[in-house]
Symmetry: C2
Subunit: 414 residues, 2 copies
Amino acid sequence: MLTFEQKLRNYSEIALNIGLGLKPGQRLLISCPVEAAPLARMVTEAAYRLETRLVEVLWEDDAVLLSRFQHSRHNNFDEVPHWHSRIHLEHAQRGDPILSIRASNPQLLQGQDPEKVRACNLAFSQSRARYLQEVYNNTFAWSILGVPTQGWAAAVFPDVSASQQQDRLWDAIFAATRADQENALQLWQDHIQNLQQQANLLNARKYTALHFKSPQTDLTIGLPEGHSWETAQHRTTRGALFFANIPSEEVFTLPHREQVDGRVSSTRPLVHQGQLIRNFTVQFKAGKAVHVQAEEGEAALKHLLSTDEGSAFLGEVALVSASSPIQQSGIFFYSTLFDENAASHLAFGQAYPGSLQGGLDMDRATFAAHGGNNSLIHVDFMVGSSDMDVDGILPDGTHEPVMHHGEFVLQNKA
Amino acid sequence: MLTFEQKLRNYSEIALNIGLGLKPGQRLLISCPVEAAPLARMVTEAAYRLETRLVEVLWEDDAVLLSRFQHSRHNNFDEVPHWHSRIHLEHAQRGDPILSIRASNPQLLQGQDPEKVRACNLAFSQSRARYLQEVYNNTFAWSILGVPTQGWAAAVFPDVSASQQQDRLWDAIFAATRADQENALQLWQDHIQNLQQQANLLNARKYTALHFKSPQTDLTIGLPEGHSWETAQHRTTRGALFFANIPSEEVFTLPHREQVDGRVSSTRPLVHQGQLIRNFTVQFKAGKAVHVQAEEGEAALKHLLSTDEGSAFLGEVALVSASSPIQQSGIFFYSTLFDENAASHLAFGQAYPGSLQGGLDMDRATFAAHGGNNSLIHVDFMVGSSDMDVDGILPDGTHEPVMHHGEFVLQNKA
């Protein structure tokens, strides 16, 4: 049984070694909430010990953001500072690694004026657009790490006493990321290899489409020619391996943007920039979400999908076993970083060019002509469950089971 | 007796109303240590209530800086991130106000390699040079506010139990800044008026030089033609009043850069970027510090004075009554922001162009030709004491007492 300090050190090392594949002589940028200073400091020290040349920390604070919504008397929510995105962009363009340490407080902007929230989110997305191009193009190594803050922990464990909530969320995060295991780095290497084998199996089949079927869902997702199933492990344009999300249990590829038809229901709530969207159904026609309905947060969802031309189309389809450790934990994290690893999921918005053969060398128009979707946003939502079957459709039109009752059943045919 | 919360609110209001003279519709930048998040959040809320258009907080962390000195295996301490200075510069050039919330941990870099400290300080000064031009030119309103951190409080109150140190430093800061008084804003208005009267008296005399005399000091400081005695209250080039330091008890002007001769001894330690310099004596000849000697930190002082051509010349002479509240408190703050208000002081480096009539419209060469000093640095050091006399030298060569035994004795001659 490791101490908290040892788990935290494991967590730092997973982030730097597995997440970023940090190399001596690099310059590391860390973004981090001010509340999580102890973790950022530990990562900083670990990075210097790994011979990082320079560590810079760009701090953030939800309370400062919330204060604007609560107390500003101006209606200028489309005015946001650009320096945060610019620092990220310049760093990415130099090819240096970026670690995002993130807390997610789902209740942060609840009750605030949705028009202001929307204007602010849009302006922020626009200011990040050029940076996200570098993300999608694998110009540099990046990874995302969760950190408990009081607001987030309270949302995840509302029935636990306030003094215990953050500890409970730390435990859940350590378990989900294997940081509570002695041999965490080795476990991660094994885990990545398992995911890669799954991706290889899927790639060998060259499906033209997937069919998702459950009592609430009946959806066909076309897959473009040349699509490639990937894990969160990517290679930068300079050839270095990194693993984008800590944790990650998925294999994913891109849908054909114009070949998604049918109906899909969410199986977990979606938390988007402090707003909760719950129990929603989306109807797709020729790729586009033409009708959405939600028990909670419908307006926020519709706002999200109207961000730009591509935001109502899909950019990702990801398969996750319904028995994944995060699903088994029974914890809803109110955070896509974790919750997307509990169930198969889709994403509205931008597709990863790396999911298409040659996609990294295409301009946006060419990428779209090959079926890839472009958008300012990329927002995952969970649709998998233990009563869902997924079939693969082969080029000759025959169907074969890929997942049955939420579990992978595809075997090596060789 | 005000509660802590009330004093903190007073402190925020002094910063925004007196310090920055904040106007509705402005965009406020705050720099702040992560440890002081509660104060930055309170100032943020207060600023939005005063109809600020947008509040941005640029967080800093001493621990991240220290980690580099402790753990980096590279010798690249002349490489520093430029974005911190650039954000300040862009903000200043737009004419928007900047509040610097500062903690000062005098022990931060003690024991670190002085060559690395020097390289890092120089690189940081160079990256700030363009921003400091905007500061010296009064392009925008700025003010500086102190905030206790554990490291700083421990240095100031080493004999107090650790759990009490920060509270004690808060008490000392609230007292020094009048934030512990009900009518704090009115007291500040009165205080500024008193300082202004002192400056007016000095300006009416048009001294050609000052003579500082005590058992340890015998120094003549020439004053250039057109010099102007000022308080910390300045007017931006757009015409708005601001008060640069909270607290401030001084009136100051610029010396003639080539007319400083004699010997001066420090009466308080000087803390410069985490290094302590104590009990030092400086010999001046034709303006330049030609010999320095220190009981502690002599190497750091010599490094400082060799920063650039102007760093060994004086840029400020300031008069502070030896009975000032901060001197009376008996507390050594290990922070120039406070300690310079306990005693008359001088500064190595850049002179304020606003201290010379027409100086704000001069380029650097013209300013120098009029006796103004240019440098990357501006570092105050305290020389006043209750056994010091200061004479003013009139254009006809006669001397008259300005301070006697550390107290102002100059009266209105009208």
